[in-house]
C-alpha cells in the first residue's frame, strides 16, 4: 500500500467528520482509506494541467430569487421531529457556561 494513513490523520479526519471511531474501526478506516487513495492516485496518470475544475456540467450561473417567505408556517411539523424540544425550540446540551 503506497498510502499509509497514520493514527494522527485518522484522528484528524474523525474530528472533521464528527465521528467517534472505536479502536477497531480506526484500524479498519486506516486500511480502507489507504486502499482507496492508492486507487484514486490513478488520476495522477492524467495530465490535467490547464484544465479548469468543473463543478457543474449544466449550469454556469447562480440562481437568485427575492428574499421573501413563500412557504407557510411549518414550525409544528418541524418540531415534531425534534429529539428534544421545549417552548417551540430545539433542546440541545448546554453550550455556554
Amino acid at each position: 500500500m503506497a498510502n499509509v494513513i497514520t493514527d494522527e490523520t485518522i484522528e484528524y479526519v474523525g474530528i472533521l467528520a464528527k465521528l467517534e471511531l472505536s479502536r477497531e474501526e480506526k484500524e479498519a478506516a486506516k486500511q480502507d482509506m489507504g486502499r482507496m487513495l492508492d486507487y484514486i492516485d490513478k488520476l495522477n496518470e492524467l495530465d490535467t494541467s490547464g484544465v479548469e475544475p468543473m463543478s457543474h456540467v449544466i449550469l454556469a450561473d447562480n440562481v437568485f430569487r427575492e428574499d421573501v417567505v413563500v412557504n407557510g408556517d411549518a414550525r409544528e411539523g418541524m418540531l415534531k421531529n425534534a429529539p428534544k424540544q421545549k417552548d417551540g425550540a430545539f433542546m440541545v446540551p448546554k453550550t455556554v457556561e
Partner: protein, 498 residues
C-alpha cells in the same frame, strides 16, 4: 390479462375508462406485497390505508368526470430517500429511523397531483451508498429472479418491487448508477434523466452534483410516461433546468433508421462477463437490422471515471450528511458529554459502516493540504470526461453498452470488498459525471437465468434519442417476468419466510 401484469400506462387507461377500479388495482398490488414481502423485503414501509384512501379519491374524481393524468389510480412506490409528508423517510438508515418529513418531494408531489396511488417506500442502500441494497439498516432486499442474489443498488427495493409486480412503477435516484444497475439486475427498465431535469427538492442529498431522480418500470413506454410527469422546472431547486422538450412519450416510435449508435470498445473489454457482452452485442445487432448505423469507437478515460467519482461523491456526501447531528431530527444518542459529544455519538451510532467510510474519505479529500491533490484533481478529470463525451456525441446519437459488468451476484459477495463493489459501477458512473441521460433496458438473460441490462446513453437533453432506441429495441422482444412475480395472492402462505 391479470391486472398485475399490465403496464402502468395500460392500467391508467383502463382506470380512466372505468374498466378497472382504482381500488381494485390498489388491492391487487397490496395483496401481492403481502404475499411476497416476507421473501423479498422490497419495502421499508407499506401504507395500506393511505393507498386505499388515495385510490378512493382518484376514483371519485374519475367518476365525477374530472380531468386526471394518464397514470391516475396506478399504484406505485417511492424510494425511501424521497420525502412524502406524513410518511417516514429513512434513507434506510438508523439515523433517520423516526424521521417523518413535514413536506413532500416535488417529483412525488407531481405524481400525486396526477393521481398516483403511493403504496409505500422502498428499501435502498443506506443513503444510496452501495450497489447491492445490502447496506440498508432494515434488512437486505432479495432479487425476484433468485432470492439468493442481490437486486443491485442503491435503488434495489424499487427495482425488485417493479420486477415482482409489487407495484406498477417506482421512483429511484441515480448518483453513480443507482437506477440503471439494479434495473439491469432485476430485468426492468430505468432512466436517469439529464442532470437538472427532475427537481431534487425533497430528495435527501448524497452527491448533489450527481443525484437525479428517475422512473423505473417494466417498459420503456412506462418510463417515458412517468418521466413526462415528473420533469419540470422547479424554482426550489437551483440546479433545475428550464426545458421545453419534456414530451418524452412522443419519442416512443419504432424507427431507428439512420440513427448513429456508437459502442465504446472500452465498455467491452476486460472485466466484462462474456454472456453480458454477447447479449449487448446482440441487442446492437437488432438495432442495426432496424436501420441504425452501429459502430465501435474509443471513448477513452473510462478507467478514470470511478476514482474521480468516489472523490467527488464522498466529498459532497461528507458535506451533505453533516446535517445529521441529532439536533433537529433523527437519532440522538444517549449518555454523551456536551454538544460536540452529542454530535459525535449520535452520528457514530446512527450511521452504518459504508456511510462512515465515505464520510471519512470525503472529509479527507476536502481537508487542507489534500483539497487540490484530490478534490480539484477529480473535478479536472470530470471536465475531461465531459469533453470525451462531447467528442463522442459529435459522431453518435446514442452510446450503447452494458449497464453492469455482470448479472446479479450472490448475497454478501460484494459487501466484503468495497473496492470490488465500486468497480461494478464502471459503465454507469461517467453519465453522472457528465450529467448525461442514460437508461437500462432488459436484453435477455444469462445461462443462470439472470437478467442482463442494455445501457443507452444520450447527450445532454437528448432523452428522446435513448427512449426511441430503447423502445425500438424493446419492440423486438417480449418482457420477461420472474416466476415469483405471477400473482401470489391465490396461494397465501406459499412464500413464507425461509
Amino acid at each position: 390479462m391479470d391486472i398485475l401484469e399490465m403496464s402502468a400506462v395500460e392500467l391508467g387507461r383502463k382506470i380512466k375508462a372505468r374498466e378497472i377500479g382504482a381500488l381494485e388495482a390498489a388491492e391487487a398490488a397490496l395483496a401481492q406485497i403481502r404475499a411476497l414481502e416476507p421473501v423479498l423485503n422490497c419495502y421499508v414501509a407499506v401504507d395500506e390505508e393511505g393507498a386505499r384512501r388515495q385510490a378512493a379519491e382518484v376514483q371519485k374524481k374519475i367518476d365525477g368526470g374530472m380531468q386526471c393524468g394518464p397514470l391516475a389510480g396506478v399504484p406505485m412506490a417511492v424510494k425511501d430517500n424521497m420525502c412524502l409528508e406524513g410518511m417516514p423517510a429513512t434513507c434506510s438508515s438508523k439515523i433517520l429511523e423516526n424521521f417523518v418529513p413535514p413536506y413532500t418531494a416535488e417529483a412525488v408531489k407531481k405524481l400525486v397531483e396526477g393521481g398516483a396511488v403511493v403504496l409505500g417506500k422502498t428499501n435502498m442502500d443506506e443513503f444510496a451508498m452501495g450497489s447491492t441494497t445490502e447496506t440498508s439498516a432494515f434488512g437486505v432486499t432479495k432479487n425476484p429472479w433468485d432470492p439468493e442474489r442481490v437486486p443491485g443498488g442503491s435503488s434495489g427495493g424499487s427495482c425488485a418491487a417493479v420486477a415482482a409486480n409489487e407495484c406498477f412503477y417506482a421512483l429511484g435516484s441515480d448518483t453513480g448508477g443507482s437506477i440503471r444497475q439494479p434495473s439491469s439486475f432485476c430485468g426492468v427498465a430505468g432512466i436517469k434523466p439529464t442532470y437538472g431535469t427532475v427537481s431534487r427538492y425533497g430528495l435527501i442529498a448524497y452527491g448533489s452534483s450527481l443525484d437525479q431522480i428517475g422512473p423505473i418500470a417494466r417498459s420503456v413506454g412506462d418510463c417515458a410516461a412517468v418521466l413526462e410527469e415528473i420533469a419540470f422546472h422547479d424554482a426550489k431547486d437551483s440546479t433545475s433546468v428550464r426545458r421545453r422538450d419534456c414530451d418524452f412519450t412522443s419519442a416512443l416510435v419504432d424507427d431507428v433508421k439512420g440513427m448513429r449508435i456508437g459502442i465504446p470498445q472500452d465498455y467491452l473489454g476486460e472485466g466484462l462477463d462474456d454472456e453480458v457482452r454477447s447479449a449487448v452485442l446482440a441487442a446492437a445487432k437488432a438495432l442495426e437490422e432496424k436501420g441504425a448505423v452501429v459502430e465501435e469507437f474509443g471513448l477513452s478515460l473510462v478507467e478514470y471515471a470511478i476514482p474521480a467519482y468516489y472523490v467527488i461523491a464522498s466529498a459532497e456526501a461528507s458535506s451533505n450528511l453533516s446535517r445529521f447531528d441529532g439536533v433537529k431530527y433523527g437519532y440522538r444518542a444517549k449518555g454523551y458529554e456536551g454538544l460536540h459529544g452529542m454530535y459525535k455519538k449520535s452520528r457514530s451510532e446512527g450511521f452504518g459502516e459504508e456511510v462512515k467510510r465515505r464520510i471519512m474519505l470525503g472529509s479527507f479529500v476536502l481537508s487542507s493540504g489534500y483539497y487540490d491533490a484530490y478534490y480539484l484533481k477529480a473535478l479536472r478529470t470530470k471536465a475531461l470526461v465531459k469533453q470525451a463525451f462531447d467528442k463522442a456525441f459529435a459522431g453518435y446519437d446514442v452510446i450503447l453498452g452494458p449497464a453492469a459488468p455482470s448479472t446479479a451476484p450472490r448475497l454478501g459477495e460484494l459487501l466484503s470488498d468495497p473496492l470490488k463493489m465500486y468497480l461494478g459501477d464502471i459503465y454507469t458512473i461517467a453519465a453522472n459525471l457528465a450529467g448525461l441521460p442514460a437508461m437500462s433496458v432488459p436484453c435477455g438473460r444469462d445461462s443462470k437465468g439472470l437478467p442482463i441490462g442494455l445501457q443507452l446513453i444520450g447527450d445532454c437533453f437528448k432523452e428522446k434519442n435513448i427512449i426511441r432506441a430503447g423502445y425500438a429495441y424493446e419492440c423486438t422482444r417480449n418482457y420477461e417476468m420472474p416466476g415469483l412475480a405471477k400473482r401470489q395472492a391465490a396461494e397465501p402462505g406459499r412464500w413464507e419466510v425461509r
